[in-house]
Amino acid sequence: MKLRTFKKGGVHPPENKLSANVPIRELGLPDQVSIHMAHHLGAPAVPIVEKGDKVKVGTLIARKGQAFISANIHSSVSGTVLKIDDVTGGSGYRSKAVIIKVEGDEWEESIDRSKELVEEIKLTPGEILKKIEEMGIVGLGGATFPSHIKYMVSDQRPADTLVINGVECEPYLTSDYRSMLERPDEILVGIQVMMRAGKVNRAMMGIEANKPDAIELLQTKVQKYPGVEVVPLKVKYPQGAEKQLIKALLNREVPSGKLPLDVGVIVNNVGTTLAIYEAVQKNKPLIERVVTMTGKKLKKTGNFLVRVGTPTTMLLEALGEEIPEGTAKIIRGGPMMGKALNSIDIPITKGTSGIILMDKSEVPRREPQTCIRCAKCISVCPMGLEPYLLEKLAKIDDFEGCEAEAVADCIECGSCSYTCPAALPLLDYIRYGKTNVMRLQRERRQK
């Protein structure tokens, strides 16, 4: 059977799913957590607690900011607020965070901590939307987009399909895969909740063919839910990018500058689905997530259920390992789109899907040579752009030229830099062009 996929572009980095067979383990509690306020896409949240306040697991500690795109933040531990101070984030820049000293593990009474599956959905679509917003749910695929905004359907902008992203196309990462294997029933109820919130009758779950057991398990379970379909997809990066996923499943292309809702689709990650299930059915805010801890030189790898704000060092300790000799890069996220960290002592955020330790043999970039106009970058770009041209224009600061060449369409997947035979830093300059084009557009709007 021919597997579906998106036709344009794409590359095949080695999968390296080293932690695929490690079941999810709950990580113990740290001594203190640092929860950043700029935790998600959009405006940072505003803290509503002060030094000395006592909090429980699930207590609201920050309300969403004034802007439309923002989210609530809840405490992931019980204890005392130590201070609200600037804490280093992944790139070394410091930003405001709430630092809580952990005391015990007391949860808010309203949260249902039982493990039973709650299948009956008691809330109306509007109430579900409010619940998602209240509980601070953001996209756990890595983009951390506040999820409630995706469900703001209307008669002018309706949705007809819910797409669940179970693809996990980035190498090394296995948190979604393990969640699908270990908690399929909850995921499927979560899908029902989301279908009701978006007022859709159809849901499609895309899973890459390199996870056959997950596909089989979910295909059997999904039979009791009419309208939900599990679709195996060809293994190709970036299959998990939402525009490419919609193209592969429904053959619809989201137009430039528009969102999936404009083609009638709502896309959410598997991890977000679980978080929505817990938020709506168990009244539990987003306070923990599954993080993959991996690396070729680690003797053991793991998938951990981690409380938000836990220092990354705890994950290594839980594996019983020290940082391997020769570690030269620490990546938060996947190796294709993730961020290289300044140190390992960074708190886990809602968007941390994995931590990868790279050895110095894997790390140095080749010296860039000259563009030989081989056009390989064009053939692998999933958005149909011309990376070699965008790099040339961005290098000479021709931002109007970049705008004309649709640099804003770039999803920053990295396929171009990955492929280039001359090892040109294509994506570096494209990002530079993108930021400046957005600045130009903002300046034009203000005039």
Binding site: K8, V11, P13, S91, K243, K247, L250, N251, R252, E253, V254, P255, S256, K258, V263, I323, E325, G326, T327, A328, K329, I331, P335, M336, G338, A340, N342, S343, K360, V363, P364, R366, Q369, T370, C371, I372, R373, C374, A375, K376, I378, P382, M383, G384, L385, E386, L389, A406, D409, E412, G414, S417, Y418, T419, P421, A422, A423, L427, D428, R431
Partner: protein, 337 residues
């Protein structure tokens, strides 16, 4: 700092694919080996002499220019100078003297490539520029083709020369003979496939070139569009006229197999640096090239038009790149299923 090593911070992606410039270039050189073998089989020592000398000249000139004149990093051994050398050598007759090869190499590498900035910056195919220069400057030696040698080790200079099939055709038609009358002087298809014909040392054996071409396709160094559309448009153009007047014009199959068409379609037109960037653009490039080649062959004063057709289309490439863009994602408003 971790274990006294500094952590590396860079932009994503943090993985790198396997493609490298050197691997691509030497892949093309490997693809040219069958044509090289055919040249040695049919022209013996002379072909070997031409190829080795051009290789030394081209790589040497690039090395000297980079090291002593421009004082930049030396990349003469990355394979691109070798490709230019081989293609230039394959485009000359076996009897060309060494100093003309030197002049051609200086033109190809020094002028057509290095003055524009080196690899990746030249607008015209360097080997073809070298050949065009040699043809204009040394018309006698560049149009004197030794007969293929019967003995591989025949080191003596063969005084016997003949014209290429295209030359015979052009001259014959000009003198009023019909194609059927000339058929006896022209080689048959089998000879053209194998290479037992007069011509420049690399263009004679179609099979050798095809083997190289298929190798490059398998290794994804080139795509099929340019060679196929170039040959199709050449066949189409010459075919139209052959249908109108088969006495005056040779059949399209003859045209595809003879002269520099095969070598040009598979190795010269597919040069990455001087070709268009989008698939649609490459098709336009190839169609234009094939038609031009046919036009020069049928109506121009030169018997062979392949090199000029590609050089002219090279001049159009910036224009093609400006207006023929790849299709962007999100422009198709298609609601499938």
């Amino acid at each position: 700092m971790i274990n006294n090593n500094r952590l590396v911070v860079s932009f994503s992606p943090h993985e790198k694919g396997e493609l490298e410039i050197e691997k691509i270039m030497w892949g093309v050189v490997i693809a040219l080996v069958p044509a090289f073998a055919a040249s040695v089989i049919f022209y013996g020592f002379h072909a070997l002499r031409v190829v080795v000398l051009t290789l030394i000249f081209c790589i040497g000139i690039e090395y000297l220019i980079q090291k002593f004149i421009l004082k930049v990093k030396v990349t003469a051994f990355d394979g691109s100078a070798a490709i230019t050398a081989l293609l230039l050598a394959f485009n000359v007759p076996a009897g060309v003297p060494w100093w003309q090869l030197l002049a051609g190499s200086i033109m190809a590498i020094g002028v057509a490539k290095m003055t524009f900035g080196g690899l990746g910056k030249n607008p015209f195919n360097p080997a073809l520029v070298g050949r065009a220069f040699m043809l204009a400057s040394f018309p006698v030696q560049m149009t004197t083709w030794p007969v293929p040698v019967q003995n591989l080790w025949n080191l003596g200079a063969d005084a016997v020369t003949s014209a290429t099939p295209l030359g015979i055709l052009k001259e014959g038609v000009r003198m009023g003979k019909t194609v059927t009358q000339l058929a006896g002087d022209l080689p048959n298809y089998v000879d053209m496939l194998i290479g037992n014909i007069g011509g420049c040392i690399g263009e004679i054996s179609v099979i050798a070139i095809l083997i190289g071409g298929i190798y490059m396709l398998a290794r994804k160094i080139i795509t099929w569009h340019i060679p196929v559309f170039y040959l199709l448009s050449l066949a189409g153009f010459t075919g139209v006229f052959w249908l109108i007047n088969p006495d005056k014009y040779a059949d399209p199959l003859f045209h595809i197999l003879v002269g520099g068409a095969m070598l040009g379609a598979w190795f010269m037109a597919t040069d990455m640096v001087t070709g268009p960037m989008s698939i649609k653009g490459q098709i336009i490039f190839a169609l234009g090239g094939g038609i031009l080649c046919g036009a020069i062959r049928l109506f121009g004063s030169y018997p062979e038009g392949c090199s000029y057709s590609i050089l002219v289309m090279n001049a159009f490439v910036p224009l093609i790149d400006k207006y023929v863009k790849p299709k962007r994602f999100g422009t198709e408003v298609n609601y499938g299923k």
